[in-house]
Amino acid sequence: MECRAVVSSLSDYLDSRNVWASDDEVEQIETHLTNCPTCRNLKLELSEIKNASRELPLHTPPTALWARISKAIEAEISTENGIARVTQKASGWWGWLNSRKFTFSLPQLAAAGAFAAILIVAGISGIFGEKPSPLNFRNAQGSLLLPEEDEIKANLERRMGAINARKAQWDTERRSDFEQRMNRIDESLKRCRNMLEDNPNDAGRREMVRALYDEKRQLLEDVERLKW
């Protein structure tokens, strides 16, 4: 394996060494690292950066922050209202729409984009008649219960996807054991999230939800490391 190939794979290799590549590829990288001091040093540096970043504290923005941002957007919209003021002509709305030129400020565009996204999501959920999932990542007001929850969910789904692809090869006992454990954690997670939804400012419940997500991640990592 050449240095270029190893360097381009190094970050993924350090993140999840057993998931992304076959055993052969991992072995090739490890052999290369054994023989190439430049790549080995690079790997060490990347590991140190990764470890150091793990030590950084997670900062949760105060709940009042969104209220302040929201007020600021509203204030800006009302002061700039004149820019995009629209008056309907008597010749019909389509003609009027074609004849107008609109200018929007950035916050207005952002607000419009968010509103459109909410309408699309609400529309899709209305069309398919789905009830909100118990692991819905947003509360009734549409805000995230955990600021990092989307990221956590994406990470878990990626790992779960890789495991699901291999699960068909597991024997029944192993599959059932893994699924039972995962379900048990999911049930606890659901219960704690419901409690957090009832009281979104409860820091204790928030930490419990975080711990349960971490437990789920840990179980997936076990399976990856065991090379099931």
Binding site: E30, L33, T34, N35, R40, R181, R184, I185, S188, C192, A203, G204, E207, M208, A211, L212, E215, Q218, L219, D222, R225, L226, K227
Partner: protein, 250 residues
């Protein structure tokens, strides 16, 4: 009519019965040992005592790691009974020793390492025991107990999904200690003069702080956050369904 047997004959018959039972027992034991086909695995690696590293990935069985007599060697002894189980032990260019088990059988490890070794242990089922080390310890088991004793390390991360976690050792300044179990009990036995910041969270089982006096930021049935002394070390204890117990070292 029942014929009376002389007592001397009775005692010799009893002795004969005892001997034959003993012989039969021995044969059964011997046969089980043979049929179980226990195999051993022994390897030793030369390492630097200051920066030796060990990683063990086991499918099932006990991993016991202790401080060895030789500060320049990692000595691995293992027993397993399943012929299809494979143990692969390698050392990379940086000196890190990695032991991996493949197959479904149970493997029980006894490993001696230099005191300051960093260790990273994983088993899906079984138990993990770590004794008298001073390096970083990461121990993870899905089902089984973790027991860490006599530790003098600044970094401990022990967690299990189903099982108990117990820690007994020094609390070093700037140390970080994380003990977690989803459905088991978490025990930490610490020196009476330990200086730390604590975060303990138990959803169901409750939190027992023992005799440690603390300055609390939060103190409820499910969550305790507080500090003791200058709060230099950081201790994080979590269990979803079990209980948490803090004890003073006798």
């Amino acid at each position: 009519m029942v014929k009376e047997i002389p007592s001397s004959t009775q005692s010799s018959k009893s002795a004969a019965k005892f001997l034959s039972a003993l012989t039969a027992g021995f044969l059964v034991l011997n046969a089980s040992a043979t049929s179980s086909g226990a195999q051993t695995f022994n390897r030793a690696f030369a390492v630097s005592p200051e920066k030796s590293e060990l990683e063990v990935v086991n499918q099932a069985g006990t991993i016991k790691v202790t401080a060895g007599a030789n500060p320049n060697k990692i000595v691995i002894n293992a027993r397993h009974s399943d012929g299809a189980t494979k143990i692969n032990a390698t050392q990379n260019a940086l000196g890190k020793v990695k032991v991996e088990v493949t197959g479904r059988g149970r493997v029980d490890f006894e490993i001696a390492v230099p005191t300051s070794s960093s260790i990273d242990l994983l088993s899906y089922q079984g138990a993990i025991v770590v004794k008298n080390l001073a390096g970083a310890v990461r121990a993870r088991i899905t089902e089984g107990d973790i027991q860490i004793d006599g530790l003098r390390s600044a970094r401990v991360d022990a967690s299990c999904t189903q099982g108990n976690v117990s820690f007994s050792g020094e609390v070093l300044p700037s140390g970080r200690y994380t003990l977690k179990s989803f459905s088991g009990r978490v025990d930490a036995i610490l020196p009476a003069d330990a200086d730390f910041k604590l975060s303990a969270s138990s959803f169901r089982g409750g939190i027992d702080l023992g005799a440690f006096e603390m300055k609390f930021d939060k103190n409820s049935h499910q969550l305790v956050e507080g500090s003791r002394g200058a709060g230099r070390a950081s201790i994080s204890l979590w269990t979803q369904e079990g209980s948490i117990h803090l004890r003073r070292k006798p």
